[in-house]
């Protein structure tokens, strides 16, 4: 056969990096690409925007109070005359970093607990009861107690903003990992009975590498979904905390805080609710789409279709 002669004479191609395949597949997902572009835009805007739009978000200009959109204040000014665009940009920095960090924390924690409980039967009962315990805890009183206890020591240790940031991320992270843990455990329980896991054991692969090589890549989909939903959840929880006076200080802008500040005057100035609301929803939507595309791109069965 001519095929055979070709393959023996031509030197086989060097293996192409698999991440290029992932990227190629990701590009075909239109929603994911739109989401990625929007998310990059938002991130660039909130982190680089303040260098271009130099109004201080806490600067009070009484003459501009309750002003509508104008060239000086494209998004208008709030009831104290602070520029809303500047506050949106500053608030976005906090909200996005809190969202991402808290999501990563809860994801790591949830996946860790889920994998341990699913793979090692001995730990299962104990870890799942722990998960149930966390699910059963009344969240708001718990948050209040944690913040009361740890706010001041953390502030002293890391400074005002960093201390609060760490506290908020930690609080959101440790109160939202349970769903992920349950989902991951269920999937691991099913996966560990697959023959390829048995095959790996017959090769002599130790358990920790079986988990890393065979289990984790195959539970990517539920983890991705949890992750994207987790960001939305974290942003919203942070705003709820700020609203209760447990989060960042009142003059410190976050998207959630802007939303809650504006809601009293929603009748007169609906646009003040719309801007932060739109920013939260669009960011969440964009992240959801990115997660969706990434999940598809990471699955070789879908790739190339």
């Amino acid at each position: 056969m001519s095929d055979a002669t070709v393959t023996t004479t031509v030197k086989p191609k060097a293996p192409r990096n698999q991440w290029w395949d992932v990227w190629d597949q990701f590009k075909t997902h239109k929603g994911a690409m739109a989401g990625l572009i929007f998310f990059v835009f938002i991130v660039l805007a909130v982190y680089l925007g303040p260098f271009l739009w130099k109004i201080d978000p806490t600067y009070i200009d009484f003459r501009a109070r309750n002003q509508g959109p104008s060239l000086a204040h494209p998004f208008g000014a709030d009831q104290l005359g602070r520029d809303i665009l500047a506050r949106m940009l500053a608030g976005g920095q906090v909200s996005i970093s809190v969202g991402l960090t808290a999501m990563i924390l809860s994801l790591v924690l949830g996946t860790f607990v889920g994998v341990l409980a699913g793979y090692w039967k001995r730990l299962d009962g104990m870890l799942m009861r722990l998960t149930d315990l966390f699910l059963a805890l009344p969240l708001l009183p718990l948050l209040m107690v944690i913040i009361m206890l740890f706010r001041d020591p953390l502030r002293k240790m890391f400074g005002l903003e960093a201390g609060i940031f760490i506290l908020i991320v930690f609080v959101i992270g440790i109160t939202s990992w349970m769903q992920t843990a349950r989902i991951v455990r269920g999937d691991v329980l099913a996966l560990k009975e697959r023959e390829y896991v048995l095959a790996a054991r017959s090769i002599g692969t130790p358990s920790r590498r079986v988990v890393l090589r065979h289990i984790l890549p195959n539970i990517m989909s539920p983890i991705m979904v949890s992750a994207t939903l987790g960001i939305a959840n974290a942003i919203i929880t942070e705003s709820a905390l700020s609203f209760l006076g447990l989060g960042f200080p009142p003059d410190y802008p976050t998207w959630g805080r802007l939303l809650f500040d504006a809601k009293d005057m929603i009748q007169q100035y609906p646009e003040r609710v719309i801007w932060p609301g739109l920013a939260i929803s669009l960011t969440v939507l964009a992240v959801n789409y990115i997660g969706d595309g990434l999940r598809d791109a990471l699955d070789p069965r879908i790739r190339g279709r």
Binding site: E195, L198, A199, I203, T205, R213, P217, N218
Partner: protein, 332 residues
């Protein structure tokens, strides 16, 4: 032993292997019994030969295969592979032994990780046991793909892109990666089309010749076992009821169960088919969690005697290399 090319060295020695799975029930998950999937089997496998292990579904063939490779923690018994006792070695210490013994799985779809490329799957044993540079590893993987008849260009593809037969070849290449001496083939052809079955079995035979492999070939397909095996062990409800060389077993089966099993093989010639006398067994296989008293086969045996319901028969050699576990042939 029957063939001049086969040596007389015992590579695998299994004695009284028992694998019982506990059954837990009730609120307190108390242990209420056990499934005696494998209940005391003994046999030797000589270096370079193929031992066929046949039996109906649920008789414990696959469990026996997996227990011999210590994929389970066995209940009782000893297993010696290549002179090393591994029956009760803790799993971490077994790791060093793993390269000697490998396994080919039944379902080629399920036994390959869908997220790993072919090169990664075949290379996994090398990652675990060999210290090779990236280029050496790649070369080894490609040469393994040559050995099992896979195109080298497929190295970066994923399992779902292959047909069943090709997937099984990937599984075989993975089992070969560490130059094992002993391979358990757990119904490697059961999930394949008939035309592909022949290819895979011939591949297994060619590889056996090339690398001097020893197989434990688990199957319920008697014609395939007749083709590949040198000796055949017949299992029923967790026990080996008859063990003989292929020729003896197919020509002169002694145990009533073996006779019934062999009489069930379809006859392609319709003229002969009418004349074939089939031994139809009555009833169902008893539950392995509650096997009958005496001989395991006594509930369905056409030639049952009183003693069968009382005393468990012992394996006995009625001719050199022909072992039967039945009271009909008990001499003492």
């Amino acid at each position: 032993m029957l063939d001049d090319t086969k040596s007389n060295k015992v590579l695998v020695e299994v004695r009284d292997l028992k694998m019982h799975f506990p059954i837990h029930a009730g609120v307190l998950r108390k242990r209420v019994g056990e499934v005696k999937a494998v209940d005391g089997i003994s046999f030797d496998i000589y270096e370079g030969e193929t031992l066929g292990l046949v039996g109906e579904s649920g008789c414990g063939k696959s469990t026996a295969g997996r227990a011999i490779l210590r994929l389970y923690d066995i209940t009782e018994g000893t297993i010696r592979i290549d002179g090393v006792e591994i029956g009760h070695t803790p799993q971490p210490d077994l790791r060093k032994m793993r390269p000697t013994m490998q396994m080919v799985f039944q379902d080629p779809q399920a036994s390959l990780n869908p997220r790993m490329s072919v090169a990664a799957i075949i290379g996994e044993p090398l990652d675990e046991h060999a210290r090779l540079s990236k280029a050496e590893k790649r070369e080894k993987v490609l040469s393994l793909m040559d050995a099992v008849g896979l195109n080298r260009d497929f190295a970066n593809r994923y399992p779902h892109e292959f047909s069943g037969g090709q997937r099984q070849r990937i599984g075989i290449a993975r089992a070969l990666a560490l130059n094992p001496k002993f391979i358990v083939c757990d119904e490697p052809i059961a999930a394949l089309d008939v035309s592909i079955q022949a290819q895979v079995v011939n591949l297994l035979e060619d590889l056996q010749e090339e690398f001097g492999l020893t197989y434990l070939f688990i199957s319920h397909d008697l014609s395939m076992v007749r083709h590949i095996a040198d000796r055949v062990a017949v299992m029923y409800l967790g026990r080996v009821v008859e063990l003989a060389s292929r020729e003896t077993l197919f020509a002169d089966p002694k145990h009533p169960y073996t006779q019934a099993l062999l009489s069930a093989v379809p006859e392609p010639d319709p003229w002969l088919e009418e004349k074939v006398e089939r031994i139809l067994l009555q009833g169902d296989v008893p539950s392995p969690s509650n096997p009958p008293k005496g001989c395991n086969f006594c509930t369905r045996c056409p030639q049952v005697m009183d003693i069968c319901r009382e005393i468990d028969p012992l394996g006995q050699e009625i001719a050199p290399g022909h072992q039967v576990t039945c009271h009909l042939y008990q001499t003492t």
